[in-house]
Amino acid sequence: MHTEESKFEVFVSGFSSTVEEWRRALKAPASELPRLNQEQRDVAKKFGISEQEYARGYLAGLYGQERLRQRGTELGKAVEGILAGLAPGHRLSAMVAEVTKLRWVARIHTPEKPVNVAIPRELADDIVDSNTIQDQEKLKVLVLTSLGHPGLISKR
């Protein structure tokens, strides 16, 4: 299996969190709260909220980043599975979550050049949450087309 050999990195930019993560952060013990930097402390003071309240919001974002890292790892494994069927020299080097653009970017090294494949978040979520044959097929079409190998897409 390719999973033991996975060497790609996962980068997450942004602090998007779910309601449940925010709620978890609100109930976290004070000892688990992240330290704020000077800018964050200044903003909290300016807005008249406590540093602890600010830190809880920030912690929710960190929970969200961790969740996205895990999802990026799952998605990356699916991309690696597709690359495994190609000629040697195709390698996934990183999965990048672009939260504000609602997409993941797979950085793939090919024998010719590096290629970035943008995966819409909707498809990424389907792969991680459902992973049906149809979802896998959509991802395969997207990756192979982006790499310039549309001829390898199986016809049904």
Partner: protein, 95 residues
């Protein structure tokens, strides 16, 4: 810039302070659940922790009250943003 899914600090506009007097102070923090053409739909910390059950957002039939904050009611929103996102936004704004 998307605010949904973010912990946000809001500064109400003068119009917002007048319309929301007694509901929100001039500056407050909230979690933005959703964002649309009307404004942002927010959940405050008090609303979130006052619920005894976990907020199961994927459970049909589970009601979670959120509040609409119209766009004209806030003048400033502050969110944390990491350096990479900031750099990407700066580049894209340059065209």
């Amino acid at each position: 810039m998307l605010l949904a899914g973010e912990f946000v600090l809001f500064q109400l506009s003068p119009e917002g302070q007048q319309a929301l007097a007694g509901l929100f102070p001039a500056r407050f923090s909230a979690y933005v659940v959703h964002e649309d053409e009307l404004g942002v739909w927010i959940l405050t910390a008090m609303e979130a922790v006052s619920q005894t059950d976990p907020v199961e957002t994927d459970k049909p039939g589970k009601a979670v009250p959120v509040t609409l904050l119209k766009r004209q009611y806030f003048s400033t929103a502050v969110v944390d943003i990491d350096a990479q996102t900031l750099a990407e936004m700066a580049v894209s704004s340059l065209g």
